[in-house]
């Protein structure tokens, strides 16, 4: 077992302890507070999904919100059908009088759960194949996925009869999971979401420590070089996009459950960028850090908006700028830096006579290439 893996497992255990035990205790098992926290946890899943493709393979997917949205709509469609006898109400408003074929299979919960994972994965996969076969990389990945997201959101809003348009899908029934009617304000629901997050993190940690993850990191650094070792780079990139999209879809399903509606704003550019920000704050190199980033930013947003009704958005903006400038690797970077500094300190104490750190350095114009 490598050191990194043991650190990750340690962090994983600590994180599990916090969300399974500490958070419920702190909130005294209060349904509302836990529901709010469940919202953060489901967003943490989409953040860790992004970290998987961005942090590991260096592919910044600005379309993450699209796959998240697909998951959330899949769930919402199922619940909407449950809630309406016959045709969902909004279809009537749009002069649709038979249930569109796209909706029919969502009567089934099993189909819905599968679709919430596989549909996003398929969409992510198609975009990925389209891009990565042509060896699109870097900023261009960000641009193409962004353009796709904008187009996709427009399409969803445009197809009102199918999607509820701007209003999204509202008036949903509670989910009936194997006979358990899910009350989103229950402690049980909180644990469901928490367990989902832990499962997603397990997948994330597994992937980043598998050979697959290693190759992804190699690709991030030098895709060209990796090809000369016989790896089909585009298939690796496509796969990580699929996994990430499936996890995002999963998060979307949970999000619909938490908020009790699905909205095209889940597919907006600003939401997508917000996910990126959470990951950046947490640290893109680690899925756990990304998840923590999402939780912290959202919780912070909740608190700030409580205290500063109008200025909170401004403060968030300032925070992001500061994070990018002073913590380019996010909280994760800060923690590893401090850990590194700690061990360096210990080391230098041990062999202090030898080290003669130069004193009084004159800072110099940053030069160079």
């Amino acid at each position: 077992m490598t050191r990194k893996l043991s650190y990750d497992l340690l962090a994983y255990a600590a994180f599990a302890a916090v969300i399974f035990w500490l958070v419920p205790t702190l909130y005294a098992y209060d349904g509302f507070e836990l529901n709010t926290f469940a919202r953060y946890l489901s967003l943490a899943i989409v953040a860790m999904a992004l970290a998987l493709s961005w942090g590991t393979a260096g592919l910044l997917n600005l379309g993450q919100a699209a796959t998240f949205g697909i998951g959330s709509y899949a769930m919402a469609m199922h619940l909407k059908l449950r809630a309406s006898d016959g045709l969902p109400d909004f279809m009537g408003w749009n002069n649709v009088d038979t249930l569109p074929w796209l909706w029919v299979p969502f009567e089934s919960l099993t189909f819905t759960l599968l679709a919430g994972l596989l549909l996003p994965a398929a969409v992510g996969g198609i975009i990925a194949i389209f891009m990565f076969r042509a060896r699109i990389a870097g900023v261009f990945v960000a641009v193409i996925t962004l353009a796709f997201l904008v187009a996709f959101q427009l399409l969803v809003i445009e197809q009102q009869g199918l999607t509820g348009g701007q209003n999204g899908l509202t008036g949903l029934a509670p989910l009936n999971l194997f006979g358990w009617s899910v009350d989103t304000y229950s402690v049980g629901f909180y644990y469901l979401v928490a367990a989902c997050l832990m499962a997603a993190l397990t997948i994330g940690i597994y992937v980043s420590h598998s050979k697959f993850g290693l190759i992804l990191r190699a690709i991030r650094e030098d895709a060209e070089r990796t090809r000369f070792f016989g790896y089909n780079v585009s298939s690796f990139e496509t796969m990580v996009f699929c996994i990430s999209a499936a996890l995002a879809g999963w998060a979307g399903m949970l999000y619909t459950l938490v908020l009790e509606f699905a909205s095209p704003t889940y597919m907006s550019v600003s939401f997508s960028l917000a996910i990126v920000i959470w990951v950046a704050v947490g640290g893109r190199e680690s899925v756990i850090a990304a998840a923590i980033g999402a939780i912290i930013v959202n919780a912070l947003e909740g608190r700030l908006s409580d205290v500063f009704v109008e200025g909170w958005n401004l403060m968030l903006g300032v925070t992001f700028v500061l994070v990018v400038i002073f913590m380019p690797r996010g909280l994760f970077g800060l923690v590893t830096y401090l850990a590194g500094a700690g061990s360096r300190l210990r080391q230098s104490r041990q062999d202090s006579p030898k080290t003669s750190a130069p004193i009084g350095s004159a800072p110099h114009a940053q030069g160079g290439r």
Partner: protein, 242 residues
């Protein structure tokens, strides 16, 4: 039949013929040194073999299969490994991880997805010991010195274990002793592997080469043993000097 057969190969970059009607055969198990002045097209030739550059025309056959049309990774899977002129290792990965990546006998995606951990660490350790990097296994490759980086990339190629290894200036930045060590290492590979080495260091070339090909302006200028080449008048004017 020769292992590698290049016929009538040429490539153009916006009017400039970097490789011009090159014919080259390489026998299995030999060490071929490719010499030539700057800009003669040596690196480009290697690029053409490993698929980094697409030729304008001509054919490259490796063990009987035509390579043109194959992608880089497909060629690598055929058994062609490449070391680059500018050492390209993964600076953010540790030395051991670099070797893990290089260990690409099974380069499939699914296989990688279901392989946990770092692969065959015993082999990695052996190779590292061979090149003298065993102590640096946990060090980030970006923190290695220039010479060590060269060694790491050589180690990666050893791990990759391709039949045909293309080496672009492997000893640049090495001390004389290191250069000698490299030469010895390469000689051990002779027979089991085929090597094409691009090098400017004649003392090194003398130590390792079975055969030398000299290129000039994209075409073959001369071909032969070390003595033949060192006494070739055309090579002297174009490359070696007097």
């Amino acid at each position: 039949m020769a292992q590698l057969q290049i016929q009538n190969l040429h490539v153009e970059f916006g009017g400039l013929r970097a490789v011009d009607n090159l014919d080259l055969t390489v026998e299995e198990g030999e060490i071929l040194c490719l010499l030539g002045p700057n800009g003669a097209g040596k690196s480009t030739t290697l690029d053409l073999i490993c698929g980094k550059t697409q030729p304008t025309g001509g054919s490259i056959r490796f063990q009987g299969t035509e390579l043109s049309g194959l992608l880089e990774y497909e060629r690598a899977r055929c058994g062609i490994g490449r070391k680059f002129q500018v050492p390209s290792v993964y600076k953010e990965l540790t030395v051991a991880e670099n070797l893990s990546v290089a260990q690409s006998r099974h380069p499939g995606m699914w296989r990688a997805l279901f392989t946990f951990g770092r692969g065959d660490t015993a082999t990695q350790r052996r190779v590292l010991e061979r090149v003298g990097l065993a102590e640096k296994a946990g060090v980030k490759a970006g923190n290695l010195s220039h010479g060590e980086t060269q060694w790491l990339e050589i180690a990666m190629l050893l791990t990759q274990d391709s039949q045909l290894i293309l080496m672009d200036e492997p000893t640049a930045g090495m001390t004389i002793q290191e250069t000698e060590k490299t030469a010895d290492l390469f000689r051990q590979l002779r027979g089991s592997h085929t090597l094409i080495i691009v090098e400017h260091d004649m003392s090194f070339v003398r130590r390792v080469a079975d055969r030398i090909v000299v290129m000039n302006r994209g075409a073959k200028l001369a071909e032969g043993s070390v003595e033949e080449i060192e006494n070739n008048a055309a090579v002297k004017t174009a490359y070696l000097g007097h």
